[in-house]
């Protein structure tokens, strides 16, 4: 008797899911490689025909254009590479200031939207709905063309108490000049910050062990603000101010904030704050009601409840979307190109690209910068988020 043969019916190979998957992927890779190859070949041909140089040799060439706001040394004889750094620093400055201010404004408005005060909650709601639904570009153009450019001309400058001037060419403020001896105050500031951190750690540890609270806020303020001020006073205020002086056609001296910079900053802060407010509101609403009630029943005051119970838990919900708002703000700062603030895109993807014609290299560098900022920020925030995340039992 022949043994019963248990053989599977042979299915054609094409019905094997593994084989199919491999085939699909091979086709996809082939298509993408072909597209990339033909794009590169076309680009090489087109560039050769237009006689445009390739490679990054232009980096060292003389730029030959001026930049209205340069925080590092820059002149028309500097190189394109130098212009790149000027633009990058300008972008980072406006993004960093914008993030700080938008966070403050956004938290205030987000909390105001949840206020028990009907009028305040309604006003915050109006702010969010109106600002969120108007394109940022329109807001920037409004601030720049309709507000800041409509300010009085140089001769009728508005003077600001304290020695500043405001006109359609910018905001002119006294510039502090640090003289010999002011370094002591700087050292005192450093010492104060370190001491404050040590004190806070000690206070926290003591509270954990004994339950006794220490006046952390006041001591910190004293160490960080009062100590440097006291040292400054003892060394006889070695800070002079370079006051702007109004001339007939120009203002000399002082510190100048370009109207482009102010318009971009206002626009970014006001726009992003509306989004941050929504993030904050959602985060606070995500904290269960019982948490607040339990805090009240323990006898905590509303302020303490918010600070010690609600906000720490809300932060877990708030941080991921807050990060993406920070990234949005940084990416939105490229709208500077519309009002002429010399940021990275305006200088590099604008002027440098036009002068050199090396579109591929310039665009790749510009995109790489934003991509790096995005990826680094996401990585840092993920790290922070992991530390903050709820540790489940």
């Amino acid at each position: 008797m022949a043994a019963v043969e248990h053989t599977r019916p042979k299915a054609p190979l094409i019905y094997n899911p593994k084989v199919r998957g491999m085939a699909y992927q091979a086709v996809l890779c082939a298509v993408i490689v072909f597209l990339a190859w033909s794009a590169i070949r076309n680009a090489a041909e087109n560039l050769a025909r237009a006689k445009i140089a390739t490679g990054f040799g232009f980096w060292e060439n003389t730029a030959g254009f001026d930049i209205s706001q340069a925080l590092i040394e820059y002149s028309t004889t500097s190189s394109y590479g130098r212009a790149f750094w000027v633009g990058l620093i300008n972008t980072l400055v406006v993004a960093a200031l914008g993030i700080v201010l938008a966070t403050i404004l956004g938290f205030l408005i987000g909390i105001a939207r949840l206020s028990k005060n009907w009028l305040l909650a309604r006003m915050a709601g109006f702010y969010v709905e109106i600002i969120r639904n108007i394109p940022l570009l329109l807001q920037l153009l409004f601030w720049y063309n309709a507000v800041l450019k409509a300010l009085p001309a140089m001769r009728e400058s508005l003077s600001i108490p304290g020695g500043g001037f405001l006109n359609n060419r910018g905001l002119f403020l006294p510039q502090p000049l640090f003289q010999a001896g002011s370094s002591y105050a700087l050292i005192a500031l450093g010492v104060g910050v370190v001491a404050a951190i040590v004190y806070r750690t000690w206070a926290k540890r003591r509270q954990m062990a004994t339950g006794q609270q220490a006046p952390v806020l006041w001591v910190t303020l004293g160490l960080v603000i009062a100590l440097p001020l006291a040292v400054l006073g003892l060394s006889g205020f070695p800070i002079a101010f370079n006051y702007p002086e109004a001339g007939r056609f120009n203002i000399r001296g002082g510190m100048e904030l370009l109207p482009e910079f102010m318009a971009l900053l206002f626009g970014l802060v006001i726009y992003t704050a509306a989004f941050i407010a929504e993030v904050v509101r959602a985060g606070i609403l995500a904290v269960a009601r019982g948490q607040t009630e339990a805090a009240y029943s323990l006898g905590l005051r509303p302020g303490q409840t918010l600070r010690l119970v609600v906000i720490p838990q809300a932060m877990r919900v708030i941080i991921p979307p807050l990060t993406s708002q920070y990234l949005n703000l940084t990416k939105n700062s490229t709208l500077a190109v519309a009002i002429g603030y010399p940021d990275l895109v305006q200088i590099f993807a604008g002027t440098v690209l036009n002068q050199t014609g090396q579109a591929v290299e310039v665009i790749v560098i510009t995109m790489a910068v934003y991509l790096t900022i995005s990826l680094v920020t996401s990585a840092l925030m993920n790290l922070y988020n992991r530390r903050m995340a709820l540790v489940e039992r």
């Binding site: 639904n133 993807a349 995109m367």
Partner: protein, 391 residues
């Protein structure tokens, strides 16, 4: 005997004369706790901090609202034909918004430089688009399956023929360089939606695929596009796209911007759809495979209908972002609605001190109406989808 007993019972029931048998009508609540005054006390003046806040808010409103109303309505100029009508004069010391300017240039704002004799084609396009939008947005509309085909296939082709022109049909050719205004804004936004949704779905499925190569390409594309600003994507589309194709193609300027916007929106749409896919319980996939459906049939009949339904509010929110982002096409030299305002406000025939603010106010109202409308719609759909959870 029985008589006296009955009487006593009745008396007992009534009780002594000083006991009330029926309850009195309740007193009205104290004036300070109910009604308008009570509401004010509770919501505006419940403590020192609240009183201060209320006063500050009231001052802020008094500072902002009356000048705004005065500028937009009371002092506004409604008819006129040139800047002279919008300048302050002896009979009109203060001039507000110059709506006459908006009324005068409204055709420019709507059609840009589209030939005047051909503008009916744009009007038909707007009507066709509105029909498609209503069909898609009205959740109980009849035959929504045909609506999808209409919106994603018929409408784009019909619009292309209508707007670009097809001499064989007697429609003269209109170059995209003469398109402008609301037309371009609407075209960019709707092309963005029509292309980004299907591409986004494919990318989202790719990102959740089990094939490593497919997943890798999807992730790289999505993260790359989301990591760079739209302006650089548009720059890339504008200066690099012509390099990457044979020089005989030389893509149209508007087309380059449309490619850039569509790719950009696809990456964001992909993440929105992915969130929807992740919300579908695993059992749905397993059940579909268990009854022998293939991957595509599972997606087509089981997963996507559920995932897309719960994603509608987020799709609408992405659309709002896309609609606002259409303003950025100016960097590649496209004349959208905001740019027509930018051009018109420096027109010497109308240039007055208040003309910029008037133009921007008009643009703000336009965008506010559309975006707020869409966000209300998103919230309405959200409410309807949550109806099942409100048991």
């Amino acid at each position: 005997m029985s008589d006296t007993a009955t009487m006593t019972d009745a008396k007992l029931l009534e009780g002594p004369a000083f006991v009330r048998a029926k309850p009195l009508a309740p007193l009205p609540p104290p004036l300070t706790e109910a009604g308008a005054i009570g509401w004010l006390r509770k919501n505006l003046f419940s403590g020192v901090l609240n009183i201060v806040l209320t006063i500050v808010c009231a001052l802020l409103i008094a500072w902002i609202v009356p000048p705004l109303v005065k500028f937009l309505l009371i002092d506004a100029v409604w008819d006129g034909s040139s800047r002279a009508d919008c300048l302050p004069g002896p009979d009109r010391p203060e001039v507000g918004a110059c709506w006459a300017f908006v009324i005068d240039r409204i055709n420019f704002f709507t059609y840009g430089f589209y030939p005047i004799s051909e503008r009916w084609r744009v009007d038909i396009f707007f009507v066709l688009l509105a029909l498609g939008v209503v069909w898609m947005a009205w959740l109980d509309a009849p035959r929504r399956d045909i609506g999808v085909i209409y919106f994603f296939i018929i409408l784009p082709i019909a619009s292309l023929i209508l707007l670009l022109g097809w001499p064989l049909l007697g429609l003269s050719k209109v170059e995209t360089t003469s398109w402008g205004g609301v037309l371009v804004t609407v075209v960019v936004a709707s092309v963005g939606i029509v292309f980004s949704l299907p591409i986004g779905i494919v990318l989202a499925l790719g990102r959740r695929s089990r094939m490593p190569a497919v997943r890798l390409f999807s992730v790289i594309f999505i993260e790359f596009v989301r990591g760079v600003p739209l302006i650089t994507v548009l720059f890339m589309a504008s200066v690099m796209l012509p390099l990457f194709v044979p020089d005989t193609w030389s893509p149209d300027k508007l087309l380059r911007a449309l490619v850039g916007v569509s790719l950009f929106a696809s990456a964001y749409m992909a993440e929105v759809v992915r969130a929807g896919l992740q919300a579908i319980p695993k059992g749905q996939y397993e059940a579909a495979f268990a009854v022998g459906l293939s991957y595509w049939k599972t997606m087509r009949f089981i997963i996507l209908p559920q995932a897309l339904k719960i994603t509608i509010p987020n799709i609408v929110n992405t659309t709002i972002g896309l609609f606002k982002d259409t303003t950025l096409v100016f960097v590649v030299g496209i004349f959208d609605f905001l740019m027509t305002i930018e051009a018109a406000r420096v027109d010497p025939n109308w240039a007055t001190p208040g003309i910029s603010t008037t133009g921007y106010a008009f643009a703000a109202i336009f965008y506010l109406l559309f975006c707020y409308g869409m966000s209300r719609y998103a919230r309405f759909v959200e409410g309807r989808l949550a109806a099942g959870d409100r048991r």
